[in-house]
Point group: C2
Chain length 233, copies 2
Amino acid sequence: MKYQEVALAIEQSIRKQNLAQGTRLPSLSQLSTTYDASKTTMVKALAILEGRGIIFQVQGSGIFVRLKARDNYIPLTTNTGFTTDLGTHLITAKLLEFKVQKPSEDLIRDFNCDPDEDFFFLKRKRYIDKKVLCIENSYFRQKVVPYLNEEIANESIFGYLDKVLNLKVGFSDKYLQANVLTEAEAKLLELPLNAPGFYIDELFYSTTGIPFDFSQNVYHYKNAHFFLQSINK
Amino acid sequence: MKYQEVALAIEQSIRKQNLAQGTRLPSLSQLSTTYDASKTTMVKALAILEGRGIIFQVQGSGIFVRLKARDNYIPLTTNTGFTTDLGTHLITAKLLEFKVQKPSEDLIRDFNCDPDEDFFFLKRKRYIDKKVLCIENSYFRQKVVPYLNEEIANESIFGYLDKVLNLKVGFSDKYLQANVLTEAEAKLLELPLNAPGFYIDELFYSTTGIPFDFSQNVYHYKNAHFFLQSINK
C-alpha cells in the first residue's frame, strides 16, 4: 500500500541522513509534496512511523525524529526475521532436525486448525557473528507453506517465503519470559547447567490474518539483548 | 487529540463487546459516522490501533479485530504504569529507599542533562496479587517532576504525575535481557541464589519528547510473563 511505501521511504531517509533524536522533520504538507502523497496517505504513514517508534508528533509543534539510544540490541517490534532485522550482522543457521508432523493440542489451539493438518517441524541453532544466538523450534503449517526442504531451512526461511511463495508476515504475537535452561538447551547454547534463558514464543500471521508459523526460541542470555520503543495510548 | 480519543473509544468498544480475533469491524465510513470523526481522523485512529495490535487491516477486505491469545501476560507495548496496565490485578508497592541525588554518567547520557540536576531515586518492591512482581529502581528528574514524597512513592506514581502534575508519558525506550540475579536481588525477590531474572531498563519521555524517568526493573521470572503484538513494516 502507498502509505506503507511512504513510511518506509521516510524511515530510510532518517537513517540515511543519520538524524539525531529530536530533529524536527518538515511539516505534513511539505512531506506530502516531497513524497507525492495525499494528506490522508501521509497521515497514515506518519501514524505507522509513530507506532513503530521512528518519530513522535507534538500537537501544534511538529514531527520529530525518535531513535533508539543503544546499539546491538535486537528490535522486538519488527518481525521480518533476523536476517532482515539484524542486517549489519552476520546471521547464520544450522539445521538440527527437520520432519513433518501432526499438531500438538497447543498448536491446534494456537492455529485454530484441524488435528489432521500437517506441519513442518524445524529445530535450528542460530548464530550472530558466529556466536550462538538462540535455539529455534518452528512449526510451519503446510496448508499455507506447502513446501520446505533442508536446504531452505539452512538459510533465511522468511526470505524464501517472501520471494518464492509471496507470503509476507502481516503481524505476530510474542510471549516473553526468563527461565532456567533445560539440560538439553544449556548444552546446545554452550552455557553451564542452570544458566538463565530468554524465551520468546511467537505466532506469525499472514497479511490476511491466517496464522502460519509458531516459533519457540530460547536465546543465549549474554549474546541476545532486546529493545522496544513504545508509544502511549 | 481527537484521533487518540477515537482510537481509545474503538478499543474500549472491542473489549466491552468481547469481540473474537478476526471479527470484521464496520467500514471506515461507517466508523467515521459512528464516532463523528472525519475520514482523516479515522485513518489516524485506525493506524494507531493497528500499531498497538488491536486491529489489522486487509486491503480491499476490511478491518478486523486482533486480540492477544494468552491471559495473565503483562503487555510490553503500553507504558501507563502497571496500575493501569494490569487493571484486573491488585498491584501494590513497598518503598525500600527514597533520596535525592545527582545523576551518574549513564543517566547524564540517557537524559542528555546537566551533571548538577537533581534526581529523586526510589527503590520499590512491587507485588501482583500479593506475589512479588519486581524490584524497581527509578530516577525521576526534578526539572520535570519537581515534587515527590514517600507517601506518593507507596502508591501509583504515574497516577500522581498524570492527575497532579498533568504529566503524561508520550513514549518510552525499553531494553530487555535475561541474566543471573545478584545476591541482593535474589534476596529481595525471594528467589534462590543464581536464579534467573528478567531485566527491563526503561526511559520515559513526556509528550513533548523530554526524558523524565529512568527505571531499572528486575522481574520475578515465575511471576512475570510478557506479551507483545507486532505489525510488519
